[in-house]
């Protein structure tokens, strides 16, 4: 079993006073709390810190730990006979803590005052997981088989129905599919958080989708009917004569499907130049240039 240096985890010297321990914990918690932090490994680090703080902030536990630290073999820690590993320890709200921790602090009176583990009930922990989904998959109800290991003996497979029109970030609650309950309490719940996978063409904004449609300069000038993709098949879009890059056309109801109404598809035009003109094309552009005095930088000339 690996010996945990709780002082080192909190970045402290062994003779630190209680107040400094609290300060160190708070400073690190602010940095690594998984709800706030962007650090990689934040969750793992936070668990280590919480464990270290759990021991060092309690004078009894700290005394026990200090004694062990002084006399124990730190390289490969073997608990003395009196400290029998207690299987029940895993069920007293410390299931997140290390084996090292559980091998001593497992008696009932310790479990009473864990931070973040107030013993108000014996429900198992909830689990939150992300569930990636392609945009196309939101059009119809999906059935997924999820392989889970929620702390039980074996992996289990869950069949999950994902309703059509589900939103990015929306959660599906699977009652009783979280971690097992403590001492006969009910199991926790499993929350699946929907994450839309990025789409190569469509961008999502609420229920609306946007699509950049490249058009030629003459299509922009003369107008055209362009065929554009949607999530379910192609549609024809009328582009007016004299269209411009950045112009948006809203196609009602062709966005993501919603529970009440469908979103819209926003077509954004992008005038795209053909490759370098040949001799004939250059002549045509020159003729156009001679005919049209249009200058998109005329504003700059006025002000200088």
């Amino acid at each position: 079993m690996e010996f945990k240096d709780y002082y080192k985890i909190l970045g402290l010297e062994p003779d630190t006073d209680e107040k400094a321990i609290k300060t160190a914990y708070r400073r690190l918690a602010r940095k690594y709390h998984p709800d706030i932090s962007k650090e990689p490994d934040a969750e793992k680090k936070f668990k280590e810190m919480a464990e270290a703080y759990e021991v060092l902030s309690d004078s009894n536990k700290r005394a026990e730990y200090d004694q062990l630290r002084r006399y124990g073999n730190k390289r490969s820690f073997e608990p003395p006979p009196g400290w029998q590993q207690n299987e029940a320890g895993a069920q007293e709200g410390y299931e997140d803590f290390s084996e090292f921790f559980r091998s001593f602090f497992t008696s009932a009176q310790h479990a009473q005052n864990g931070p973040g583990k107030a013993g108000f009930n014996a429900r198992g922990q909830d689990i939150e997981m992300e569930l990636p989904l392609f945009l196309e998959e939101t059009l119809q109800e999906q059935t997924r088989n999820l392989n889970l290991n929620t702390g039980g003996r074996a992996d289990k497979t869950l069949k999950v129905k994902i309703p059509a029109g589900i939103s990015d970030g929306e959660r599906i609650r699977l009652k009783g599919q979280g971690r097992p309950g403590i001492a006969g309490g009910p199991a926790g719940d499993l929350y699946l958080r929907i994450r839309y996978a990025p789409h190569p063409l469509f961008l999502v904004s609420g229920r609306d989708l946007s699509l950049t449609v490249p058009i030629t300069p003459w299509e922009a000038a003369l107008g055209t009917t362009a065929t554009v993709p949607t999530l379910d098949g192609k549609i024809k879009v009328k582009i007016a004569a004299g269209s411009q890059t950045g112009q948006k056309l809203r196609i009602k109801g062709k966005g993501l499907h919603g529970k009440k109404a469908n979103g819209d598809l926003l077509v954004i035009l992008k005038v795209t130049m053909p490759p370098k003109p040949d001799a004939r094309e250059s002549e045509l552009w020159q003729a156009l240039a001679a005919h049209n005095p249009f200058n998109p930088r005329s504003d700059w000339e006025k002000s200088t």
Partner: protein, 102 residues
Amino acid sequence: MNGQQGQFTLQDICRLSGLNEEHLTEFVAHGIIQAAGEGPHSWVFDTHAICIAHRARRLQQDLDLEATALILILDLLTQREQLEQENLSLQQQLQQFLAEGF
């Protein structure tokens, strides 16, 4: 078994998140958690509300926060998520627009 995207009462949400009613009522008053219906007795919450409540309880316990600070943090976290989302979406749009030979 899933699919009923959560209709939870105030009591449900307290039991599931471990927050007390007083705190939850305060979160609803500050718009941190959305509830449908009028007054605590007819409030109805969705699954999202439970997850915010969970987050609130974790932060409250792990960081030993008082209510005002907690509300401020939850509010800022939500704002941060919205801004990140918006930023990502604008970046993608810009990318599509600038992409050569598109």
